[in-house]
Point group: C2
Chain length 286, copies 2
């Protein structure tokens, strides 16, 4: 055939759209510090004038930045777009999608979670503040108090692990752990923890971990946390293997390899920090 079939093979040539390039430019200006947090960005109509693009393309650019968490934009008179530092929320959303896209098996998820939980415990032992200790003590007490109610116990447990991650003062770790614990939690039948003996034992281990964090004993914290998480994994997977035949809840047949991790893990309104998805849009026209 004609030449250049092998050399210079530039596949699929991604043509950027108008909104994309504007978003790129604005993003660069924001990240370079030229536009600071707080009030920034011209109004849409000013941008239209400056760029000589259409309103639509300008809005697309703003929408992209908004999805990235770089700006928030409000309607109304002193409205417009303000520059923001991205919080973890957007990152978490994308992490969740990423995990979904990988069809990771529950085993894989647990492996990664174990590694990160251990890291969190270690970091917490190293960098905890007094306030962290206070919070962790409270969460531990709450966990003990909830030991008789399976669902309350699971929620408290989730909460406790998140608090440990926070105490490590590693924001990235907090984000990863939030997502992982949530996905695993959603994919795990709560009946697996229906044994009060299991729960009591976990509470004991958690108290030991807390002690290690208080003592700033990073090594003990890591070891104990690793054991705790591994135990939880065994409990969950054992139950899962024993009851594998339960009815799939809604999707008729997730035909991928490992159905356990596939079914239920998207958009649960489980715990805190889920306010973004609440407001029901009751403002469509007739």
């Amino acid at each position: 055939m004609n030449r250049s079939t092998d050399a210079l093979a530039l596949g699929r040539l991604n043509v950027p759209k108008a909104g994309d390039v504007l978003a790129d430019q604005l993003r660069r200006r924001i990240c370079s510090g030229e536009l600071r947090e707080g009030q920034g960005l011209p109004t849409e109509r000013e941008l239209v004038e400056q760029t000589s693009l259409s309103r639509m393309s300008v809005r697309e650019a703003l929408r992209i930045l908004e999805a990235e968490g770089l700006i928030v934009t409000r309607p109304g008179r002193n409205g417009g777009s303000q520059v923001r530092r991205p919080t973890g929320d957007a990152l978490i959303r994308h992490l969740e999608l990423f995990i979904w896209g990988r069809h990771a098996s529950l085993d894989d998820l647990h492996d990664v979670r174990e590694a990160l939980e251990a890291l969190a415990a270690e970091g917490a032992a190293r960098r905890r503040t007094e306030a962290d200790v206070k919070e962790l003590a409270e969460k531990t007490a709450a966990l003990e108090a909830a030991v008789d109610d399976v669902d309350a116990y699971l929620a408290a447990n989730l909460d406790w692990h998140k608090a440990v991650a926070r105490a490590s003062h590693n924001e990235l770790l907090v984000g990863f752990m939030n997502v992982l614990t949530r996905v695993i939690h959603d994919a795990t039948a709560s009946e697996a923890f229906d044994s009060s003996q299991v729960r009591a034992s976990t509470v004991r281990v958690h108290r030991d971990i807390l002690a290690a964090i208080v003592d700033r004993d990073a090594d003990a914290a890591r070891r104990r946390m690793a054991r705790d998480v591994a135990a939880a994994r065994r409990v969950a997977l054992n139950w899962d293997h024993a009851h594998r035949d339960r009815a799939p809840q809604s999707a008729p047949e997730p035909p991928r390899a490992r159905p356990a991790a596939e079914t239920a893990h998207h958009y649960r309104s489980a715990d805190k920090a889920d306010a973004t998805r609440n407001a029901r849009g009751t403002r469509k026209r007739t």
Copy 2:
């Protein structure tokens, strides 16, 4: 004042826009498996008809999903939107923005990476196949061969680490490591590894790790990998501290703390799989 100033304080009430709710709905349908990879999604005009929204809102929804990596959309006759599993690219972008926003987190990033690399080495030692060993041996040899060229060495190094993750047969881990190594690589000045002594030592360690993986000695693999990555982190950060005063390339004063992570981490055409951002848009009107 009037009542409800304290109780029922729902602040800032996030009003979702039309495009958002459509995007949510489509996302749910995609993630539930109702829409599968490959051809999917109706055309824009069909969606307009079905939802009785305007073309603009429909396009906003599609643009959101596209930014999330869930769909790709191509113009032209058999064009339209295809469902895709998100690759790491979108996640990489958001991770970079995130660590830009929390300016202290290059350290955090390294912490997480250390934990995951160790896990990868351990998993590789446990679950490697003969093919994995063969590939790892090749990559190790390539690394040795590239020891004299800094850039080639760094690329080979990246490649080697990815191969280890693959050998662990944990899809999630592979994805995470791809993302993390890429972000760290982009944020790290290659000059930091300008010492051939450092490189030679790293090669030696890598050979030891490979030996441990071949022997299925998970513990040794984990330990050695942890040491290797920690050493690399020290090298990078030391260089960073020593050269903190170099001129920032364009922005007059990035007022945040760590300029190293600020300058060069967006849109690098470093290694493979970066064909998406090349095409220069030369199609604006007169």
